[in-house]
């Protein structure tokens, strides 16, 4: 999971990486023995839930494209935090 996240963040993500992350997360949640394993994927799933477009940007265009996309966003959107966190 860390390996996939790292490569996405470096702009070297591969097609299907978000699906891969979801599959591993689901397996961890359902099949882990302990509470640590069952909850460990939650941050990744939250990130996928709230920042899916960012993941897409990194996957499709690499780091510079993603940064440009981020820079073009309205300032309040890039700093806004979800109300429920």
């Amino acid at each position: 999971m860390l390996q996939i996240l790292n490569r996405v963040a470096r702009g070297r993500g591969e097609k299907g990486d978000t699906e891969r992350l979801r599959a591993i997360s689901k397996a961890m949640q359902k099949a882990s023995l302990c509470g640590l394993g069952q909850t460990a994927p939650n941050p990744v799933l939250s990130a996928l839930r709230y920042f899916e477009p960012e993941f897409k940007a990194y996957l499709e265009g690499g780091v510079s494209y993603a940064r440009k996309m981020n820079a073009n966003r309205p300032p309040e959107a890039s700093v806004a935090e979800p109300a429920n966190v």
Binding site: I4, R20, A27, Q29, K30
Partner: protein, 607 residues
């Protein structure tokens, strides 16, 4: 506080497993895939599912061992529970509604398997477990066709320090079977979990090599490993080289337990006796003479029973006498129980006895230069590889007595490499002077067998008469420690038989306590075999061993004993001949020179 004598337990229902609260029902009713079943309380879901003909996939659960819940493949769904618990370590509870397979379960099992494969090298073609690997079988069953998750294999160099077993840490799936068998079943504690996360490995504590560790080379780890992480050191190429060498006179011996297990590698049921086919196949492989370790087992009995009579009747030497045929046990004794060195039988193991006689007695009779002889032995055991160079006494012939020892698994490979149609070969005969054996010799392969064979001959040595009923049922069976009392001429001999090194402790503690108190030892004769079930459950035997397989292999040997016309070691005509022609009598000077060894205390740690 003084411990009280335990009172008689209240009469409990025999169906109730030990440790279950008497208030809990003995039998629970559950549904598995909609099929109602009644099963004893405390049964795991994994075992319960077998009753409705479901085999839940698992990689870490072994029938010999407690569940470790390591692999995560045996997950099931239980109605009303959001998570998927592991079937191997979840006991059934009244009213459970269990689903063992569904789309969601298969999806998650696939992901778990993908994760397992992502840390495993893809070197199946050059792996020692190619074709017998449990992970490979699961990958095949689940139809893994792509590598969905990038592989990360932590590069840790392999440990091949022992020459008996090789640990390839990269192929480990961290199921923990080897650690459990090493610690709980064998009480050796050579392997333990080191490090954490992706760096986890099963290795000797302190990151020392296996050769420096308490390892006794029993090979139970290699027999229980689901993958190729722990395998025997394959020496089949060396045998082919020797067989091709025109200057070498290759002879071979096969151990008692090999003949009833080798069939499993060719699809036969456990316990099928293939002695005759083994003789033929070895001869066709190119061995100049085919001997049988069972002959040397008879010889071991002559020496060991004489030693026992010497100590028990003539009061010369320490009692109890402890058998020394098992090299793992010998190694364990030298490392841990070295206060029993004087109790050990000095008789060598049958493998070494046959080796030394091949290079002396046989070589002299046939006029062969022993320097050109190459003795190969096929054993159910990985420790036999270590035994070859154990002490200077293993060179009693002036050369290394046995040149190379291979396991049953390697023998199966050797036969398959040759292309010989093993199962359809005609039955052959062993070669004379070191090949004839009795039923007693055949019993050496099973726990209690050495004791039984020794008692048969000891009875003759004491009374001058042969037993009317030769079977000693009380030393048979798979319980960890067996005790029996045998009366010969009004004198009672108390014997104990232990198998699985963890079971030795209780027997030796009793002897130690008596020794400290200055009392007579509680037993006079102890037989120990390191592996559960004895050699039939040896570390070098075909995979997939459990209690049922051991029982069948043992029955194969008992049947073999019943089928032999001669069932007493001292009645073996070739044994009589070797004593009159060559050795003189049991425990003679010559016998001591060739057939006996010595032991050295090699304490590992200051405990």
């Amino acid at each position: 506080m003084v411990a009280t004598t335990p009172s008689a337990p209240p009469s409990a229902s025999p169906a109730a497993p030990a440790g279950v609260n008497s208030a809990a029902p003995a039998v629970v009713n559950v549904k598995i895939n909609g099929i109602p079943v009644s099963i004893p309380a405390g049964t795991t879901i994994l075992d319960a599912a077998r009753q409705v003909q479901v085999k839940i996939p698992t990689l870490c659960k072994d029938e010999d061992l407690l569940p470790t819940a390591a692999c995560g493949l045996c997950i099931v769904q239980i109605a009303g529970q959001p998570r998927m618990p592991r079937a191997c370590c979840t006991p059934v509870v009244e009213g459970m509604d269990i689903t063992t397979h569904s789309g969601a379960l298969t999806d998650i099992r696939r992901t778990v398997l993908e994760l397992l494969l992502s840390t495993h090298p893809s070197s199946c073609l050059t792996c020692g477990r190619n074709g017998t690997c449990e992970l490979q079988a699961l990958a095949a069953d689940f139809g893994m066709r792509t590598e969905n998750i990038k592989r990360i294999v932590t590069p840790i160099p392999p440990d091949n320090s022992t020459g008996s077993i090789i640990i390839d840490f990269t192929k480990c799936v961290k199921c923990g079977r080897c650690v459990q068998v090493c610690q709980e079943v064998q009480n050796v504690w050579a392997l333990s979990f080191l490090d954490r996360g992706i760096n986890t490995r099963m290795a000797p504590a302190g990151d020392i090599t296996l050769a420096e560790s308490p390892c006794v080379k029993c090979g139970q780890c290699s027999n229980h490993c689901p993958t190729g992480a722990i395998v025997e050191n394959d020496e089949t190429p060396a045998v082919w080289t020797a067989l091709h060498d025109e200057t070498k006179h290759c002879v071979v011996q096969i151990a008692p337990a090999v003949r009833v297990a080798i069939g499993e590698a060719f699809g036969l049921p456990p316990g099928a006796n293939l002695t005759g086919k083994l003789y033929t196949v070895l001869r066709r492989l190119g061995f100049k003479a085919v001997f049988d370790t069972n002959f040397a087992a008879d010889l071991t009995i002559m020496e060991e029973a004489s030693e026992f009579i010497e100590r028990f009747v003539h009061k010369r030497g320490q009692l109890p006498l402890i058998t020394s045929c098992c090299p793992s046990w010998t190694d364990f004794m030298e490392k841990v129980h070295y206060d029993f060195i004087d109790n050990f039988s000095t008789a060598k193991s049958p493998q070494q006895m046959l080796g030394v006689l091949a290079k002396t007695y046989y070589a002299k009779k046939l006029g062969i230069d022993p320097a050109k002889m190459y003795v190969v032995s096929f054993m159910p055991c990985t420790a036999k590889k270590y035994e070859l160079e154990r002490t200077n006494e293993m060179y009693a012939s002036g050369y290394i007595d046995v040149d190379i020892a291979l396991t049953t698994r390697e023998l199966a490979r050797l036969i398959k490499q040759s292309g010989l149609d093993f199962l359809n070969l005609p039955d052959g005969e062993a070669d004379s002077i070191l090949g004839d054996y009795t039923g007693a010799g055949a019993l050496f392969g099973v726990t209690g067998g050495v004791m039984e064979a020794a008692l048969r001959t000891a009875y003759f040595f004491v009374t001058g008469k042969n037993l009317e009923k030769v079977e000693f049922e009380s030393v048979r069976g798979l319980q960890g420690v067996k005790q029996a009392a045998v009366t010969i001429n009004g004198t009672t001999i108390r014997v104990a038989v232990a198998h699985g090194l963890a079971n030795v402790e209780s027997v030796l503690e009793g002897v130690r306590a008596a020794r400290t108190a200055g009392r007579e030892p509680p037993v006079h004769f102890i037989e120990v075999m390191a592996c559960p079930g004895g050699c039939i459950g040896g570390g070098g035997q075909p995979y997939g061993v459990n209690g049922e397989v051991r029982t069948k292999r043992a029955e194969g040997l008992y049947q073999h004993d019943r089928d032999r016309s001669v069932r007493l070691s001292h009645e073996n005509p070739e044994i009589k001949r070797i004593y009159s022609d060559f050795l003189g009598q049991p425990l003679s000077h010559k016998a001591h020179e060739l057939l006996h060894t010595r032991y050295t205390a090699r304490p590992l740690y200051k405990r």
